[in-house]
Symmetry: C2
Subunit: 103 residues, 2 copies
């Protein structure tokens, strides 16, 4: 993976492996990517807090990795997941973070 | 849209509106987003060249916007598209840039 283009980070697109919905986009540094692969749960680097966070660590709505793919120039990762807990990924209680139409 | 978190850019996830495949991820600045909305064709900001580029401007494989959605914290855009030309989005000739499994 090429972490250099974005100061040590790559965008991570989270897609529901069952429905193909795009659920959220986060950022991973090398450690977050390694943690995601090792544990099987999507883990990100928080740009605002400067720390790793595993999605759902408090809510229980973890994202279990089904498959991971990298893009052709290796600067983005696509994580296909199975949603645990109540299945709502967004902190607003929606299934996906992308619920607002850009009109 | 919040362009501040990423030095004037937001990630733009490109998803096939018919198949729900994630095809590529690019970056948009405010001008690229405005151009995308005005023309109806996905247009990005090239971080390496420092210029706008409309996907398919030379290959003909343009991405016609079907719907655009923003995420809950307004720092990422999801662009649902119809693929024009031969329908291959990746410069390697694949349908999607995400063809390589991360093993």
């Amino acid at each position: 993976m090429d972490f250099e283009k974005l100061n040590g980070l790559v965008p991570a697109v989270i897609q529901d492996d069952a429905t193909n919905e795009v659920l959220m986009v986060g950022f991973m540094n090398a450690e977050a990517l390694e943690t995601t692969r090792r544990t099987g749960y999507a883990t990100f680097f928080s740009r605002t807090r400067g720390t790793l966070w595993t999605k759902g660590e408090t809510s229980g709505n973890r994202l279990a990795v089904a498959r991971m793919l990298v893009d052709c120039d290796q600067d983005t990762v696509l994580v296909r997941v199975r949603c645990l807990g109540d299945g709502n990924v967004c902190h607003t209680g929606q299934r996906t973070c992308f619920f607002e139409e850009l009109s």
